[in-house]
Amino acid sequence: MNKVMFGRFIPGHSWVHRMDPRAKLILSFLYIAVVFFANDFWTYLIMTVLLLASVVASAIRLGVYIRGLLPLFWLMIFTVLIQVFFGAGGHVYWQWGWLVVSQNGLNSAGLILMRFVLIILISTILTFTTQPLEIADGIESLLSPLRRLHFPVATLALMLSLALRFVPTLMDEAEKIMNAQRSRGVDFGEGGLRQRIRTIVPILIPLFVNAFNRAIEISTAMEARGYQDGENRTKYRQLKWQRVDTASLVIYIVSLSAVIGLRYFS
């Protein structure tokens, strides 16, 4: 569990680290949207170069990103195989019963794999360089126009930030409970499905009971500290849009426009 790199924050002071989370969120969304417009060598080349430039700007080695992809390796293989065998049309290279490897199948498999990798990598740049809390702040800020529709944006953001705040605490607790039950002779990850489900109970029940008690204590403490209305609060944390953000935005918009331009006007 400790070896999963996907979705983790790696502290640093790079160009990307210094960016406003809102800028990073917007750019990631734009990038992912435009990935689906890329359809040939040149458009993919631009997307790849833009991605690699962003990786370099994050000052995190490419190897670390690649390792982040590994847990998704089987998912990628599976998606590619589905595409290879079920994308029909064009020259047939190989056939065995209903399994057909055709030119279209290979093409669409390559396309899917490329998109898959690019999307994962761009989101990994976001999570490697942005603390979860900053992401929550960014989302809150981007959603703030919804306040006019009486949507409880601030309450939602506080919920999200509290949830993020307690993720490490609960992970820690889950590990402690697992250790305690292993010490009482529970074998995790062994036996058949029924056996495995049975071994989850001694973890889930204490985890839920403790989380519930914890939630009550937290809400008591929040109330004691004067929390009553989620919306009419001031905010200590402020996001700052800086020159790096504008510069990045310009670079992305130019490159991504080029991709769309190439697709429709070449």
Binding site: R165, P168, R214, R225, Y227, T234
Partner: protein, 277 residues
């Protein structure tokens, strides 16, 4: 002037057949440090929660700083009272140290510029300014409790309630937090009400209130109470070293003074006794 006045307070938990708080009355003078002691389950923490309206008493009257606690005044009363709870993790709601200190101010719609100044000020007062941007996962229990204190003094309350605030800390964390509280009490002229098992914390108090089975048992100075020797364990306190030593010396037929002595007092007495031998 009594800053906290409790009169004939009663409370029973919904699923219980005994009174958690049974007709308790007492007063606390402004500027005092009062410790409420009693063994686990004696009703001490229930009392603390009733005092700031986190639970509503079945009957009785609580007056804080001249204002009676009612559903209408509860938020005003919480402006005057800060409370540190037992579990350091479960009161740390901010994502970082600075965010947590700001939480109470955010609730009161304090403007951001003021918050920025006050967060730094409060953190400096508890000696945690260097940790301003740390996340709770990287702090010790004692450090988290100091952050909790910073969050409270940023609101400038008159009363500080410590609900077993040191019981989950290691001895070092406990010492640190106690000395911070002593400093804050001095600087800010706070009234402190601490609910505790810790003998050092109790020794800091001007007066001790003993609670057992939800009932008020007695009120005494630490000096008066600590001379009770072994009985202290039943009251949820440890026997202080001087008392244990006096007991042991008496068994060895050494003439010892009856009244309570702290460590320094006992050391002085022992020195005199040695010279008189």
């Amino acid at each position: 002037m009594a800053i906290i006045r409790v009169e004939n307070l009663n409370y029973q938990y919904p699923n219980s057949d005994t009174q958690a708080i049974d007709n308790v009355s007492f007063e606390i003078q402004a500027g005092d440090w009062v410790a409420i002691v009693g063994h686990n389950g004696s009703g001490k923490s229930t009392l603390a929660k009733l005092l700031i309206g986190l639970m509503a008493a079945d009957s009785g009257k609580i007056t804080i700083d001249g204002q009676e606690l009612t559903p209408e005044t509860v938020w005003q009363i919480r402006e005057k009272v800060g409370m540190v709870f037992q579990n350091p993790d479960n009161q740390f709601v901010g994502a970082t140290v600075a965010d947590d200190v700001a939480f109470g101010m955010e609730n009161r719609s304090v403007d951001r510029d003021t918050m920025v100044t006050k967060v730094d000020q409060a953190l400096a007062q508890v000696g945690m300014l260097d940790y301003k941007n740390r996340e709770p996962a990287n702090l010790s229990g004692g450090q988290k409790q100091r952050v909790a204190l910073a969050g409270i003094i940023a609101i400038a309350p008159k009363i500080l309630i410590l609900d077993e605030a040191t019981s989950m800390l290691d001895p070092r964390g406990r010492q640190e937090i106690l000395s911070v509280i002593q400093d804050l009490k001095q600087q800010l002229n706070l009234t402190v009400l601490s609910i505790t098992h810790d003998i050092d914390e109790a020794a800091n108090a001007d007066r001790l209130v003993v609670i057992d089975d939800g009932r008020f048992v007695e009120e005494a100075t630490p000096k008066e109470l600590f001379s009770h020797g072994q009985q202290l364990v039943e009251m949820g306190l440890d026997v202080p070293l001087p008392e244990k030593l006096k007991d042991a010396l008496q068994q060895r037929h050494v003439a010892i003074p009856q009244s309570y002595l702290d460590e320094r007092g006992l050391a002085d007495w022992l020195r005199t006794s040695r010279l008189n031998k």
